[in-house]
């Protein structure tokens, strides 16, 4: 066995005793809630319990992902049928938003703000809160055997800041002029030059969201460092915890520069400074009344300093969840656990020095481009190691094809496609052709949509029984999986072709005007714009996207129906080894009845000589054969 076991002094007993001697204000709050039954508001709205906060994050973020999906469907309609009123939803939009959606037609300005908000909501209000905050909050303390997060009230403040920020973002749709229109990247000077207040709301919303993720990140790291149960050494942490640990560091260190940039953009907006506004800037044909001297590149550097680590914030928690599910459903240890850990740490470090590969086209200089091209190629190595480890883990396993496993398995090739199609974008020569085309959209959506979101679906189906004590319906889970997989691919695969054909990503009519103009100028036999074939793919994508939206309905119904009517299961329905399954279901306030002691690594499946094919981490070492472990002495 690992000699590290004995290093950890089981000092928890003495410390716990000490804690009880002193009645702290914080604990007083806990004791109070134990004394008299908390009412609905105390229990579900202003709760400091990590599990409730995780659920709050989960529900809010799923709602925003649904909203962002709806925005996308409206945009796809406008792209496929430019200038035509949106069926069914058109009149609703016209009555809510007024002029920008007059007659149920999405105007270019409205298209721009839907585009900006689709990105912002999916990333900052949807996937990060779901992957990091929801799963991390619910699962991480349970996995490491902790009673709660290290700072429960900070945790509550984190959710409240997130909720306020998302509220500000949501409200911005309904102000005069509508929501922000400068893309989720909010490049200056465009973002500062648009004469509506949407951008102001965006900035304020972002500052709140950054505050929220900062509080969350501090809490996660402190919890993982300080609250691991006795015997839970670093190399016994489940890979999911490692992934969340690195993610928290990325949020902690990459987000503040964007907060700095947001503050400066706020000053540009409100105090009329020129941080990002160059000398001689003309807006609407007139010289802008500014002092000038600013640098638009500065915004891009600060934005992408967050923006690229953010990509790993999106993907790492999903990788972690997939790793847990694959180990559990292949019934064998994960292959190359240490390689996984070192790879994820390497990714975390390298992700801070690849940001300018988003900026090859800005004219920042070929030497800088070459540097970032090199680091970008290097960071693909640990990503490939992780994916390879997960693939090899399947080898020789007796695989259980349940819904979480299906999503986890689909994650591997989907993320593979997303990752590999990123290489041509990382090389600055090929990026010149592909930059800002539909190819880029297809690339990062393969990483995030069938990649991360499938990983998160897998996690939802997998941990649902721990949260509710019931399993989600297996049949409808499979329907959800098959339909999602098919339609995801029909939506995103054609975009590679469109992008390589030269279709730019931000045209509100999908390139119709551009093609018409170019093709007529070039003459009958030369096609200067986009071919009809490429244009007609828009219609395919539209219907596949609608079908993808419909395919989520069984999931939504399944999610809520199963809370009350799902199949009842015990504490450990998947026969898993990690600690969260050894806690009562649903875990009470404080999680475990006794402090769990950890005696082994996270993936001891099918250990020869054991009665069961899984050995929980907290199962004491038994005298097997002649070997008697020292751990039994405790």
């Amino acid at each position: 066995m690992n000699p590290e076991i004995q290093q950890f002094p089981p000092s928890r007993h003495s410390t716990a005793g000490h804690v009880q001697e002193h009645g702290h204000a914080e604990d007083a709050h806990h004791q109070e809630s134990a004394h008299h039954e908390p009412n609905f508001w105390q229990k579900y709205i202003f709760s400091s319990d990590h599990k409730i906060i995780g659920i709050q994050y989960g529900i809010t973020s799923l709602a925003f992902m649904w909203l962002a999906l709806m925005l996308m469907l409206l945009m796809r309609w406008q792209i496929a049928h430019p200038g035509k009123p949106v069926p069914i939803l058109g009149p609703v939009l016209a009555s809510i938003l007024g002029q920008p959606a007059a007659g149920g037609v999405i105007s270019p300005d409205l298209y721009n703000s839907f585009g900006a908000m689709h990105g912002t909501m999916m990333i900052f209000l949807g996937i990060v809160p779901l992957a990091f905050a929801a799963f991390g909050n619910y699962v991480v303390p349970l996995m490491i055997g902790a009673p709660d997060m290290a700072f429960p009230r900070v945790n509550m403040a984190s959710y409240q800041a997130y909720f306020l920020g998302s509220l500000v973002m949501f409200v911005s749709f309904f102000i005069p002029g509508g929501a922000a229109q400068a893309g989720w990247t909010s490049y200056s000077p465009l973002a500062t030059s648009i004469p509506t207040h949407g951008q102001l709301f965006w900035i304020i919303g972002m500052v709140l969201l950054i505050t929220s993720s900062l509080l969350g990140a501090v809490n996660f790291i402190a919890t993982i460092i300080q609250l691991r149960a006795p015997g839970m050494t670093w190399m016994r942490l489940p890979f999911f915890v490692w992934a969340q640990f690195v993610t928290a560091f990325l949020l902690l260190l990459a987000f503040p520069p964007l907060e700095a940039a947001s503050l400066m953009q706020l000053m540009d907006n409100v105090a009329h400074t020129s941080f990002f506004l160059p000398t001689g800037l003309a807006v609407g044909g007139n010289l802008a009344h500014i002092s000038g001297g600013g640098s638009p590149l500065l915004w891009q550097h600060l934005f992408w300093f967050l923006g690229h680590p953010e990509v790993y914030v999106l993907i790492l928690p999903a990788m972690g969840a997939v790793c847990e599910i694959i180990a559990n459903n292949t019934r064998k240890p994960i292959w190359g656990y240490k390689s996984l850990v070192y790879s994820v740490l390497t990714i975390g470090f390298l992700s801070f020095i690849v940001w300018a590969h988003h900026m090859y086209m800005t004219g920042m200089g070929t030497k800088i481009s070459t540097f970032f091209q090199a680091t970008t190629m290097i960071i693909s190595i640990p990503s490939v190691i992780i994916l390879t480890c997960l693939f090899i883990s399947l080898w020789g396993g007796s695989i259980r094809f349940n819904t979480p496993m299906l999503f986890a398995l689909a994650f591997l090739p989907m993320f593979g496609i997303g990752g590999l199609t990123g290489l041509p974008l990382g090389f600055n020569l090929s990026d010149v052709h592909l930059h800002d085309t539909y190819y880029v959209i297809a690339h990062f959506h393969y990483v995030v949509a069938p990649g991360t979101i499938f990983g998160l679906f897998a996690g939802l189906y997998y941990w649902f029984p721990k949260i509710t004590g019931r399993r989600m319906n297996e049949f409808w889970g499979r329907v959800h999986f098959v339909c999602s997989l098919i339609f995801m691919n029909i939506v995103f695969m054609p975009m590679f072709a469109q992008g390589m054909a030269g279709m730019l990503r931000r045209m509100s009519d999908g390139g119709a005007n551009y093609s018409a103009a170019m093709n007529s100028r070039a003459g009958a036999d030369v096609v200067g714009g986009l071919s009809d074939n490429m244009m007609s793919l828009h219609v395919w994508i539209l219907w596949a996207a609608i079908a993808l939206g419909i395919a989520q309905i069984p999931f939504i119904i399944n999610l809520f129906w199963s809370i009350k009517h799902g199949e009842k299961v015990g504490d450990n329905p998947w026969q898993a080894t990690t600690l969260e399954w050894q806690a009562p279901t649903p875990p009470p306030h404080g999680n475990f009845e006794h402090v769990p002691h950890v005696y082994r690594g996270p993936y001891e499946y099918s250990v020869p000589g054991h009665d069961t094919d899984f050995t929980p981490q907290n199962e004491p070492e038994r005298p097997v054969g002649s070997k008697v472990s020292l751990a039994t002495a405790h």
């Binding site: 000490h18 804690v19 702290h24 709660d148 990140a217 300080q226 609250l227 503040p256 000398t279």
Partner: protein, 257 residues
């Protein structure tokens, strides 16, 4: 189960939870101010030749504020030491000094802001500039205490010019092409100055509020749980030292260059 290591350090890491938390928070603060400092570097390097200001800020006031914060760092440390050795009265005294020093710092900062606020650059129709502090203004004329210059660049490099004349100048509004005070909109130096020192002043204010709470109502914890209270003083002290440190960078970068 209760949350462990809220007061006593965890044996294998050697620190208690809140201390891990504050160090992580400070790491993110380093990145926040780091982003702003890198903006300073980029904008200064990219400024037009001769148009980066020198000597616009009063070094004497900057030095005074540096001394005030350095002293407050010492009193913060002494307040924590007083808690450690169980002398509550001394703690009260030293942290009272900390707050007084912090408030004086903010007062000096306010005076400096106000000084920039009433400082006007006036572009005249004859091509000259009038530059100085506003004394009076009405519908027909503006009175400033300052000087005329013909070359705009003379307004930027004050350090190589010797004493700047402060004469009372009355200018008719009909001679004025445009006028603007030295607010953040005036140029990127002032934008950086107001943003950086403004954010820093907010940190000072926040730190003062926290120390004020621990000094006032929060100090009741001393009787019940002195060890936990001492930890709170230590953690808030770490934050305070960080805020001091930021000023140690701000002072040379803004005042001395």
């Amino acid at each position: 189960m209760e949350i462990p290591y809220t007061v006593k350090p965890r044996p294998d890491t050697g620190i208690y939870n809140a201390k891990v938390g504050i160090w992580l928070f400070l790491a993110s603060e380093v990145m926040l101010f780091g982003g702003l400092f890198s903006a300073y570097v980029l904008l200064r390097v990219g400024a037009d030749e001769g148009y980066w200001p020198h000597g616009w800020l009063d070094v004497r006031l900057g030095t005074l504020n540096t001394v005030l914060l350095a002293l407050s760092a010492i009193t913060t440390l002494l307040a924590w030491v007083a808690c450690k050795v169980g002398q509550f009265g001394r703690f009260k005294f030293f942290h009272a000094c900390t707050m007084a020093l912090a408030l004086t710092f903010l007062g000096v900062k306010m005076y400096e802001y106000h000084d920039k606020w009433i400082h006007y650059e006036i572009k005249l129709k004859d091509g000259r500039f009038a530059d100085g502090h506003m004394i009076a203004s009405d519908d027909t004329s503006v009175t400033i205490e300052g000087r005329y210059v013909t070359d705009e660049k003379a307004l930027y490099d004050l350090r190589s010019q010797g004493p700047i004349p402060r004469d009372e100048i009355k200018i008719s509004r009909s001679d004025i092409l445009s006028m603007e005070n030295y607010g953040p909109w005036h140029n990127t130096f002032l934008a950086l100055y107001f943003t950086l020192t403004g954010l820093h002043a907010l940190h000072i204010l926040g730190g003062t509020l926290v120390i004020g709470y621990l000094w006032g109502p929060g100090s009741r914890m001393w009787k019940k749980d002195p060890e936990r209270f001492t930890n709170r003083i230590e953690v808030s002290g770490l934050f305070w030292h960080f805020v001091d440190l930021v000023w140690i960078f701000l002072f040379p970068v803004l005042y001395l260059t």
